[in-house]
């Protein structure tokens, strides 16, 4: 027998309800199409394959006819498939510390074990690269990660080295990065076997811009109360903006998703049926706990309406009229590469825009660059916003770094704390 005491305002719903997005089917088709093009390129050689970091120069690569593969997306798949801890030990045994990026260690570990979730989609293994291209705007690990594969496959590796902790985006910084974009073109031409075409690059930049604007609009729908979409939806539906940025496919998909969210708002449908609290998630997702966390928050009538992670793929400064400089600007403006003072301002504004009641900082053991509670930002932001916060210790991919029971108690206490305000 189950009943609620003082039913007027329950903190906890006995059963968690999640309202799934109908666009999930279309998302599946879009992602299947992407992997199918990638597989065809890898198997037939009809197009060259470039590996790219998740906030690397995807537009440039797509414009030069590459199929583009993103190891970070693969890392997230390993995490979401709850397999990362099976693979990490292999990378550790090969000299990669368990303290560094668990996307890297799980991805390299899976490679060493000759396993990939892509095998379910008919791949023999991950698609062999013809070239590897990274941007260090997010972290230095990506260079080491790609270095492993460059050595293994004996293929060229090209890098864009972005300054870190940028306070102000000066013309010098933009020029430095834009020049690096230009400088990798001759090597890419050699691998691609074709000349760079400025018009095609402008086209890719325009498509990337349009996709990002749509993605921003989608995330912005969560400003509505109750929110039609939450962090757990966005973490899944961000796939196309990560891997198909600069293509028509991403643009087409996000038009479908946006229409659904507009319809949801019109019909009064929310991501969390009894939304009472609105939370901001700072840091990486816990990929291996995405679904159980979604249920947990729904049970507490709490919607995670915005996140640093999902907001990071908004490159709306991209401009086809000035593709190199605008790419440099867009990819240097990225949250992760900014100074703490800039980050604080951005976060403060997001709290207002999304009517946030509290913040959860996920301190990810193996991703310090994406853990913004390590240098006192959480306390400084609290002084400015007075918004309560908690810090959860975990990791993006390695479940061994996450104490679930302890975290659930902390989250439950936090929701009670918000309820009492």
């Amino acid at each position: 027998m189950e009943k609620l005491l003082n039913m007027s305002e329950p903190i906890i719903q006995e059963k968690s309800e999640l309202v799934k997005l109908q666009s999930a089917g279309e998302l599946r088709k879009t992602m299947d199409g992407y992997f199918s093009r990638l597989r065809e390129a890898a198997e037939t050689g009809v197009r060259k394959v470039a590996w790219c970091t998740s906030v690397g120069p995807a537009e440039l690569l797509y414009s030069m006819g590459f199929e583009v593969y993103f190891p970070e997306n693969h890392g997230a798949m390993l995490g979401a498939g709850k397999n990362a801890d099976k693979y990490i030990p292999s990378a550790v045994a090969h000299g990669y510390s368990p303290e560094i990026c668990s996307y890297l260690t799980s991805d390299i570990g899976a490679f060493l074990q000759n396993e990939t979730p892509l095998q379910k989609s008919g791949f023999k293994s991950v698609p062999k690269p013809d070239v590897l291209v990274y941007n260090t705007n997010q972290c230095r690990e990506v260079a080491d990660w790609f270095g492993f594969y460059a050595r293994h496959f004996n293929v060229p590796i090209l890098g864009i080295h972005t300054p870190l902790c940028i306070p102000e985006l000066t013309p010098e910084i933009i020029k430095t990065v834009a020049d690096q974009y230009r400088n990798i073109i001759p090597s890419l031409e050699q691998v691609a076997g074709r000349k760079f075409d400025m018009d095609l690059f402008r086209q890719a930049v325009a498509l990337s811009h349009d996709g990002c604007v749509l993605w921003k609009e989608i995330l912005g729908k969560a400003k509505h109360r109750p929110s039609p979409i939450n962090f757990f939806d966005s973490a899944i539906h961000m796939g196309p903006i990560v891997v198909m940025r600069g293509t028509q496919y991403a643009v087409d998909y996000y038009k479908v998703l946006l229409a659904e969210l507009d319809q949801r708002i019109q019909d009064g449908i929310s991501a969390v049926p009894h939304e009472k609290h609105r939370i901001y998630w700072e840091g990486m997702p816990l990929w291996y706990k995405l679904s159980s966390m979604a249920k947990l928050f729904s049970k507490f009538n709490t919607s995670i309406v915005a996140s640093t992670y999902c907001n990071s793929w908004v490159f709306d400064d991209l401009d086809p009229a000035d593709p190199f400089e605008s790419s440099a600007l867009a990819y240097c403006k990225l949250f992760i590469v900014r100074s703490d003072a800039v980050k604080e301002d951005i976060l403060q504004q997001l709290m207002i825009d999304f009517s946030v009641d509290g913040i959860i900082y996920h301190e990810s053991k193996t991703c310090t660059r994406n853990s913004n509670n390590l240098f006192g930002l959480q306390n400084r932001l609290f002084k400015k916003t007075r918004l309560p916060f908690i810090e959860i210790n975990g990791d993006l991919n390695d479940p061994r770094c996450f104490s679930e029971e302890q975290s659930i108690i902390a989250i439950e206490t936090f929701i009670h704390q918000l309820s009492g305000r």
Partner: protein, 256 residues
């Protein structure tokens, strides 16, 4: 009729019996073991022998939903704050050191939790840390207290890891450090871990099983923070808070 609060912690399950005037009339504590339902049943049977208990019982802690009776569960941090406020009626910083958790709570003038923090993934500095060291050194909690009295100076323990801390201690003994001085070092290392969780503001209240069993810790806290205290039976406070809290709170009531 009596109400019963049960805190099902990782190491011990604590029960308090509360009368109609919100006064505690009985305490009982059992090891949690591997079966929380059994542990809670032992608490219930213990009190039910001589008292008429009103159901649901009020629970918190890791095993808060594994109870073989009608129960109302709650967060132990909220419950603990409620009980501390009942006693002190003023803003406090609370440090609770339990079996595997250390909790730091900043409580405001209305008795609400303003901020809280729990220890990181590692259990160094908690009750388990001390139990493991005691086991390896073959010293009982009572002997710990007695040894601590004989200390002449403090030996600093550096290791964050329980296992490595033991290796460090063994190395110190080998190098001539005395057990009493080492024990003071262990106590101070636990205090250090807890106060680095946040900034102590206002009166400091120390609670939990560890300070209850090791009163020297409370004295050492008082040296560092003169404005501090530890209520009697502090390891039972969260259980007591559950009973107090659920008079006013909106919580799911489930019968197994």
């Amino acid at each position: 009729m009596y109400r019963l609060g049960i805190d099902l912690g990782s190491s011990y399950t604590k029960g308090v019996l509360v009368d109609e005037n919100n006064r505690i009339t009985g305490f009982h504590c059992v090891k949690s073991g591997y079966n929380f339902t059994n542990a809670s049943s032992k608490i219930i049977s213990h009190f039910a022998e001589d008292h008429e208990i009103e159901y649901p019982v009020y629970t918190c802690g890791y095993g808060r939903e594994q109870v073989a009776a009608a129960f109302v569960s709650n967060s132990e941090l909220i419950a603990l704050s409620k009980a501390v406020y009942e006693i002190y009626k003023r803003p406090c910083s609370i440090i609770d050191i339990g079996g595997q958790d250390t909790k730091f709570i900043s409580m405001n003038a209305q008795g609400q939790v303003d901020k809280f923090k729990m220890n990181r993934k590692c259990a160094a500095g908690t009750g388990s840390f001390l139990e493991e060291i005691a086991f390896r050194l073959d010293v009982t909690p009572e002997e710990f207290t007695e040894f601590a009295r004989q200390a002449t100076e403090e030996v600093k323990i550096n290791s964050f890891c329980t296992v490595f801390a033991i290796s460090e201690i063994i190395g110190m003994i080998k190098n001539g450090a005395t057990l009493p001085n080492i024990i003071i070092g262990i106590y101070n290392s636990i205090i250090q871990r807890s106060v680095e969780m946040s900034v102590v503001e206002g009166h400091l209240v120390i609670t939990g099983g560890l300070p209850a069993k090791h009163p020297t810790i409370v004295s050492l806290f008082a040296k560092k923070y003169p404005d501090s205290s530890s209520p009697e039976h502090s390891q039972f406070l969260a259980a007591y808070g559950c009973v107090l809290l659920n008079r006013t709170s909106y919580i799911v009531h489930r019968t197994l």
